[in-house]
Symmetry: none
Subunit: 224 residues, 2 copies
DNA sequence: GGCGGGCGTTAGAACGGCGTTAAGGCGGTG
DNA sequence: CACCGCCTTAACGCCGTTCTAACGCCCGCC
């Protein structure tokens, strides 16, 4: 779950943000001043910070610098000041975005989504592991006994559909449609050939498949 | 040097941006429409894109989607529309920031600095070593048997994309998009020529490549 | 117990894709 | 203006993939 730290000394703004963020599945912490904000940021490691300028105890710029000393968490600044110099200074000390009050909640949430999105790690590899072999969907790679297994485009495509539906039955028609196209729905012979190929390359005992399983008369299923 | 791609069909805005950016040491490319923008983005790999909505040939959202299909370069949108829905939609399809016209040049430049700053990679050791050769991504150099290998710009670009995706399969379309641009996705002949060149210059036995590997029908893969 | 349909397995032929080379064209440089 | 790299393009031969057909097996059904 995404964690948001809201820093503002006006209770009604904190309240409005808390309600809106909670409703969208965010976890919300709140701090009424800069000191508490720095403390909570260190302890709770939020995924994004919404920071109101004009806190009672510290300059906004000081809060940002205090954060930037050790974290690159996205900071979205809220401010009543429209002055260009203030925006420039705030952004240049390390803020990621600057929203002027009064602000539209929809827009703030959209900017928050954008900030979280680009801070997210670039995409993890979707790796599926079985006792006998490993399938890396992102790298388009299958490994067995430590060695890469070479798969042809069609073999890979069939395997991919099955693995993405791991544990579920995939009907022959569905497989044929996704790999060969809608007009090949009756070519069940293709499936027999390619499933045999895949088993020969991946299963320990191809005659007794443990992962690429036939459901007679229905379709095929990948079990990890 | 930081490279900026300015996308706008109004010459005076392009001109103003170009002058201001040049004066601050940026390298500036400009595109008057979406099609040119996508092409230039692929060929020049800007560090940030300033995109005006309301281009003559494409919807702004379409341009953003076209970019987001293969790159995470920061996109700062310029727009005359202040409507909240437009901001939300634009940010949600992948824009990083949304600035309404008329805009202050100082503010835009500050937002641009912020976008570039947070996109900057955390100073990685960009040296990849294999048994047969070494690739230094930062220095843009390849070394084999202690001697520098001379690579043409295109050769280097192809190698760079493959090395940055080390171990992962890179499809022919992806490779062509990133090196030649989206309109070259069918020119698979280029790949055959350039992969042959790279193998001849880098592999010990070019007829049996150990690192620049072809996956027939799918793409290419760099293995260290 | 014979029969037929579905499935697994194998091999070969056709096709398209890939590696390789070299020549032409283009732009940049001295 | 001539030269030189680099990119593009085309031609050719080879290799891998896909398709197709044939055969054997198992199982349920008549």
């Amino acid at each position: 779950m995404t964690r948001v730290l809201v820093v503002d000394d006006e209770p009604q703004i904190v309240r409005a943000l808390r309600i809106n963020l909670r409703a969208r599945g965010y976890e919300v912490d709140a701090a009424p001043d800069g000191r508490t904000a720095l403390d909570l940021a260190a302890r709770r490691h939020p995924d994004v910070i919404v920071l109101d300028l004009g806190l009672p105890d510290m300059e906004g710029a000081e809060v940002i610098k205090g954060l930037r000393g050790w974290t690159s968490v996205p900071i979205i600044v809220l401010s009543a000041r429209h002055a260009s110099e203030e925006k420039v200074e705030t952004l240049d000390v390390g803020a990621d975005d600057y929203v002027t009050k009064p602000f539209g909640m929809d827009e703030l949430l959209a900017r928050l989504r954008a900030a979280v999105r680009r801070a997210a790690p670039p995409e993890e590899d979707a790796v599926v592991v079985t006792d006998d072999f490993t399938v890396d969907l992102a790298a388009k790679k299958a490994v067995r006994d430590g060695a890469d297994v070479r798969l042809t485009p069609t073999e890979w495509h069939v395997l991919e559909v099955l693995v993405r539906n791991a544990g579920r039955l995939v009907s022959q028609q569905q497989l044929l449609r996704e790999v060969w196209g809608p007009s090949y729905e009756n070519e069940t012979g293709y499936l027999r050939v390619y499933l045999a190929q895949l088993r020969r390359k991946l299963e320990k005992d191809p005659s007794r498949p443990r992962h690429l399983i036939t459901e007679p008369g229905m379709g095929y299923r990948f079990e990890r």
